[in-house]
Symmetry: D2
Subunit: 342 residues, 4 copies
């Protein structure tokens, strides 16, 4: 039976990406689109590329009858999300794409996001949405917290290595190259085409990026002790994509073996042959993550690279993958589209 | 029953696009991939973005058992295509994406392409593949000739207006803006990123572009007399997309009415509300063509704009749409994916 | 003797371009930078690419001692510009880059810009700043009005043809392809990199673009009777450049001869050999305008293409060229830098 | 007195960049342009953006009268360069932009470039062209070897730190982001716009990039013992720019102090305020290198970032800076142009 879906925050990029994906999903139908600031508009006004779809108009959240909804995606800004979700029916299945429920410890949340958490009850029940590693918990969860897109990329590259202790836990560097859609549709000067194109730079340098909260939480839990990584993101003049270049200390072949073995049955995580490197252009618009392992010329130094599409596997594709599990649908349903190249 | 598909010329962009589309088509399966110069390679070496697919390796054409094939796509360069197709089994259904069978008159072919046609028998039976206008002929055809991508765009904008005589037939200007993938994967200096990006220019100016052969053939047939248009293409620093800006003389409202009426039941041809203009970014990766009509401030002057993705609706999507008809499948099957934006 | 220069509106793109150009001008020195909203900031905070220059900090306009200034560039938004300029000393030489003083008839100004002109005295004395055609008037002017960047491009392509009556004055079409910096540094959703890159579209279609006011004024004056052109701009995913494709009726060779003859001694206006077409990439960052003429296959139809950099020859370079004349300096001083390619 | 200049290899990007720069140099004049494969062509055919310049046509090398030349730039491919230079007059001043004379030890050259060096005599006399660090030697040199563009960027970031021993010499990681013009004008599939734009990837991963030869040579000489760094370049969809993100172990403030002090009087090396990060867009087309230092959240970890334009400060600008010294001209002459932004 077709599942009825609501999307809150449908006028942002992750909202649009959810609609794109669900429009071809055989088991879901979009019944409500929430977008407070643009309520009353047709979605084709906000996203003309979706004009061929027969979709409900954007409405205010309180106009939605959630009793008819099987699962609700929240693609709202952080802080807004916790306010909204705390008011939604307690039985409603929710996949949240914001940062609000990613960190288990409310103190961590306040540290990284600067404001106290106001939906502690929901925070407690939320399951971290990195599908491949929390599959069982997600399947039975009511509320799943989508991961940060950078956090997902780094974890796909490193989790098995940290869990198995085959790399030096005190010397991990993640140099990330992020495309611009990860910054959302906000009007900021540095996101203008004339500012951004033809140039690139590091930002949130030195360990200030909020996704570090997720790395700390997850990597420490895996290792059973505190693990702190270095993480420097860079903004690249492209629309979609994250490339993580991870510098670790450990045997390259052992690293490759660990990733290959752990991801052997994972449809979306593809470990390339040893020595090959992935490219963001080869995962664009898809739910795949390509992972490469290379040995450095210096013995004992290994480079793990991982590429995914921040809007798909990094957020909305991941969210749909989780929703499939929560609704008892096949995990990969609606997610097997090939990347768009060129 | 699933239809068995072969693709010749699988290492070019239209070949890759066919594979992308067919990979999600519920009624087709790729059984053979021909690519002479890269025979013996795995497709994932040639197109790493397709590495998740379970595909046959590239082979030489004569290694393919065509008796097991229901339909063959030929995505070869023109001239090569006619040589190959003349040697294929006479009963094999074929959709050709080259220029070789688009022009009905062999003399026209020689005029525009510079060499005599060497597969006259096949040329005679070929049906022009502009689906929305040759649907019946295509359904029963054995050999369908895919149209030029520019030719398709211009015809979607203008055919109803010419057929109904509501514009001046002697004063039609098509100013086209073409993305770079239309030039294929050939190694040409002007297609390098460092040359092409951040700049744009007109090419084949003054009526020398080969797609004019198609415009002349089709528009003249529609009008019942010779119609010659002006056509100037421009190369734009983007990967996918054609935008046609057509300057015609006629009443704008009548033009809009004619297009709306003729395309009322066409799934892929969307006529925008009067005065709105389409954008290539809103059809990227999809089989849709968006069409806009605006009145100029000078009375009796009308501007028709049309946008499509040259690799999808302009070639491989069109080819698949035709193949669906030829194989008795639903015309839109495998073609309803939403555009990729941003 | 070095001339002292002030720039009002130094925090926008045309302001930055003026500083870039003047920084290498041997006869000018920047003494004051006005930027009300960013007053108090160092210019290197607003434009880090200019950090190597020894420049005054941004100040509010009323902090500037204009008695020490030889010439003031106003790079302010229209409407603001007329308010500011009407309060500046009456003897101060000014080059205005806004739209406020381009149209001679106050009624035309109100028609195209929607508000009544409030600096009628200054408007009356302003000289239209298309250097190559108003050289004498500019040399002795106190107030020069920089032209629209699109208006400049179209006029370079067409003025000699209209003045000499060698094209049909009632059937002129300008299809312009404009890069994004022409839209300025304003925060608009459609100017975001994620929205703009990889796509393109027509805007202000049908004769609503304000630069038509300039075309009407200038072309009609040249012809001695009303001339109305069709003008459709398109937004292209590149940072700098305007390409005008002009469709006219007239003999192509005569058109080429007229342009070659009229521009024979113009340093910045280069007419290409007959049949060649210019590219925006070959004028980027320079004050040159490349112009091409081609015959269409239809007899009597001619295509004139012109390419320039909207921020240089289209605005700030033109402004500096005019300032040179007004200050008695060599016209080309500080303007001979080669384009930046690739 | 004006110096007469020859450029060999004028049809590549570094050749074109030399011409762009020299065209505005008050003390140099281009007397000969060598380009074997394009001999006989006018430079405006090869580089239309330089058509405004009065330049000699391209000729074969043996057609050049070197007795009239004060200094010759060689912008040829490596291996070709050593063959050519060994045949040039022994008294001719030469700035070579190839890789042929960068490595002092012939065995190192063979290791990294795969072929034995065939101009050992010239190699012996060649001076390494990193101007700021070899100024005296360059001033009196006959033959100067331009550095690798990546090698220059990394050295500007790290030399003072290695020389002063304030970072751990055994744990230095350089993650470089390189724009595409660094790959030259060669026809390679992966450099096509349709392949490259909208995606990015690591290449020459694991310590195989040839510029490591320079890092090893220079850093080891500075330290007085073997120093081996990790170096991973990435190809970014932009035309100009290199951004080096260097991960080092040492005190961030000490690192910043060392760079500020050593570069205090260097016109082209700008150390940003502590904690700020440079962007390639802010040095485009200029000879400046911007350097930033940030502390990581992990104590004792420091990130040094450096940005320059690979065609200017990374090759042709550096070459001109060296030529100025060799010819007794002011070091910065012709090199003070501001970056082009946007």
């Amino acid at each position: 039976m077709t599942k009825n879906i609501a999307i809150l925050g449908a006028s942002g990029y992750t909202g649009a990406e959810l609609i794109r994906l669900i429009s071809e999903h055989p088991g879901m139908k979009i019944k409500a689109l929430g977008g407070n600031s643009k309520a009353g508009q047709r979605l084709s006004q906000v996203f003309p590329h979706l004009r061929h779809l027969d979709l409900p108009d954007l409405v205010k959240m309180d106009q939605i009858d959630f009793s008819a909804i099987d699962l609700c995606f929240c693609a709202l800004p952080h802080k807004t999300s916790q306010e909204v979700i705390s008011k939604l029916p307690e039985t409603l299945k929710i996949v949240d794409l914001s940062a609000d429920f990613r960190l288990r410890d409310p103190a961590d949340y306040e540290t990284w996001y600067g404001n106290p958490h106001t939906a502690l009850k929901q925070q407690k029940e939320a399951v971290y949405g990195l599908t491949e590693f929390y599959r069982n918990e997600i399947t039975t969860a009511r509320l799943v917290a989508g991961t940060g897109c950078n956090a997902a990329t780094g974890q796909f590259a490193l989790r098995p290595l940290i869990a198995q202790g085959i790399i030096d836990l005190d010397d991990i560097i993640l140099d990330l190259k992020c495309a611009v859609s990860g910054a959302g549709r906000a009007l900021k000067e540095n996101l203008l085409h004339a500012e951004l194109s033809e140039g690139y730079h590091a930002y949130a340098i030195g360990g200030t990026h909020r996704h570090l909260g997720e790395f700390d939480q997850e990597f420490s839990a895996l290792a059973g002790r505190a693990v702190k990584v270095q993480f420097t993101p860079h903004l690249i003049p492209a629309n979609r994509g994250i490339l993580a270049t991870c510098y670790v200390k450990g045997d390259a072949q052992a690293v490759h073996n660990a990733l290959e073995k752990d991801y052997e049955h994972e449809v979306f995580l593809e470990v390339l042959p040893f020595g090959e490197t992935p490219s963001t252009r080869h995962v664009r618009g898809s739910n795949f993550c390509h992972i490469g392992v290379s040995a450095d010329r210096i013995e004992g130094r290994t480079i793990v690279t991982a590429a995914l599409d921040n809007l798909t596997k990094g957020s909305s594709g991941q969210a749909l993958q989780n929703a499939n599990l929560m609704l008892g649908l096949p995990e990969t349903q609606g997610l097997m589209m090939a990347p768009l190249f060129p």
